[in-house]
Structures are given as C-alpha cells and as structure tokens.
Assembly symmetry: C2
DNA sequence: GTCTATACCCGGATAGAC
DNA sequence: GTCTATCCGGGTATAGAC
C-alpha cells in the first residue's frame, strides 16, 4: 500500500506548485487527498519527512530532464532554468533550506547533479561554480531581483561562457 | 521622534541576526524594545514595512563595506561573502523574497549595487552575471548545499576568474 | 504613544475510538 | 488506516482607554 503514500506526495506537490509554500499545510494536503490531516501521520512521521519525499521526486524529475541534455553545459543550463520557471515554488522548496539528506531517497540528489558534473569535464570546482551561477541567476530571476529591462539571456550567456572552452575562445578572440 | 523607530529597527535586526526569521514576530520585537506588539503599529503600518526598514539599513551597511573594496572585483566578492557569513539571517531576508522597493529607503538598493557595477567596467550584463555567481555561491554555502569536503575558496576563484581580465589570461595561458 | 483586551486566523501533532 | 476531538502554540492586526 505505497500507493496512498505516493498519492499524498503527488497531491502535496500539486498544491505546492499551484499555491506556494504557505499553502502547504497538512490540512490542505489532506483535503486534496480526501482524508483528514491526522491520517497523513500514518504514512509520514512528520511534515518534514513528507517534504523530503516531495523533494526526492523532484530530484528524479530534474535528473530525467538534465540527462536529455547530456554533456552540453549550455543545454543543461537551459533545462535548469526552464525547470525552475515551470515549477518555481517547487524549485524554492528544493533549494532555499538545508537539505534533510537523511530523509531523501537514496541517490536522488546525486542523480540530479551528475549531468552537470559530466558536462564540466569532471572538475568538481568548476561544476560547483557553474551550479552556483545557474542557481544565482535562477533564484534572482524568480525573486524578481533584476531590473525590469535586464537582458537575462545575455547575462546567462556571459556567465556560461566562463565555464565552456568554446565560450572562452570566442570571448578572447 | 524618529528615535523610537530606529530603536525598533535595531532591535528587530538584532533579533533576526541572533535567532533567525522565525523569531522575527511583532511580539518578540516589541519584547526586546520593552513595549507591546500593538505599539509598533504606531511607528510602522505593517510588519512588511518594518522588514523593509530592516533591509534598507542592511543595504546601507553593505554599501559601506563594498565601497571600501573599490573597483576590485575579487575584494568586493570577498566582502560580499563575509557580510553574508557574518549576518546569514539578515542576508536571507534581503535576498530570498521579492523586494518591496516601494517601501525601501530611496537609493539604498542602488548604493549597495554600485561598487559591483563599477568593478565590472560598467557592463550591466557582466555585473548581473557576477552578482548571480556571488549570490549563488553565498546562499548555497549558507544553506549547506555543497558537499562537506568541497573547496569553496577554489570554486569562488574559478567562477570569479570568468569576470576578470586577469583571471582569463591566467587560465588560458 | 503606550497600554489592555481581543478578534480572528492559522499551524503541527497526538489520543483513542472504530 | 481512517476518523473525531483536542492540545498547545503561534501569528498579524485592531479598538478603545488613558
């Protein structure tokens, strides 16, 4: 009977994506499933555990998307940005707090990260820098922090060129 | 009698820095000032307005720090990271939500941003990319998102070199 | 400009019956 | 595994006296 568990995670994810983190209460989640809030505790020990399940599924979805852009840093960056724009509340839940890794599905985080590591030639420092850039652009855009007229495509291009051989050649030519 | 107003902002900032965003309630703030929560509404129309005042002061503090690192991107980046590590909860308040610019002190945001724009030679796209990188590194570090052994100094160096002439020369040599 | 009192709403979580 | 009932806590904000 893991089906009910999955159903709760799916309902919670949909609620989060539609209405944001403030709407993600045990009562609202239960309402969507058609049960009472207390019953969720038969499937998850705490709200935190349920959130970790939401995040685990989201990592797997991300991994599936990133793998399709295999080994191309620019394509991965585009997929990263698109995922966040399509699921802004989910993306925030995934990134804006420390991760409860002990509650995540095993390997989920690593699977989501693998394509980027591959695309940066296995250099972990460069991969981290590239991720930081991508996350920074993404979250600042979601939070409306750039000025209204800002050309974000151009800012992305300027930043990404730092992490690609081709980009450096082009800029320094 | 703006003194009381300033006193409230100072008390709220201290409370935020010590105990984090969850502790920042009108009741807790008032307690620190030695008044009742209801009295705060004689000085601020809403909690949001009080938060905006906290952020305005924080921008001015940031501006003062960044100006000391004038025109040197690496020095500004170091100051940026240091500010966030010294005031993590304040930094989160400043960055993790859309800004209520209509409630901020005039020019505060621009003064904090000016040193970075200057250091990137006035190229707004590069300045935005550099800011995104710095924010991404900073917030991911604050949220413990990098692996335990990660060499963040090195990741910072790799990313920053993208935005400096010197860095590019060195890497491509 | 501060107080008391309160309206009004929400949250996570547990006990115990069925 | 679901329910009802409840505990216990918290929050922003307002009314009206002083």
């Amino acid at each position: 009977m893991q089906e009910r568990r999955d159903e709760i995670v799916a309902a919670a994810t949909e609620l989060l994506e539609r209405e944001g983190a403030d709407a993600l209460s045990m009562r609202r989640i239960a309402e969507r499933v058609g049960i009472r809030a207390a019953s969720i505790y038969k499937h998850f020990p705490s709200k935190e555990a349920l959130e970790a399940a939401i995040i685990s599924v989201a990592f797997e979805r991300q991994a599936a998307v990133f793998e399709r852009a295999e080994h191309d840093l620019v394509a991965i960056a585009e997929a990263y940005r698109s995922f966040a724009r399509e699921h802004p509340h989910l993306y925030r839940l995934m990134t804006e707090r420390p991760l409860r890794r002990d509650l995540l599905g095993p390997g989920a985080e690593a699977r989501a990260a693998a394509p980027l590591v591959g695309a940066t030639g296995g250099d972990a420092d460069v991969a981290r820098a590239a991720w930081a850039f991508a996350h920074g652009m993404t979250i600042l855009e979601l939070n409306d922090r750039f000025p209204p007229g800002a050309d974000l495509d151009e800012a992305w291009a300027r930043g990404l060129s730092a992490f690609t051989r081709k980009g450096r050649d082009k800029r320094d030519r």
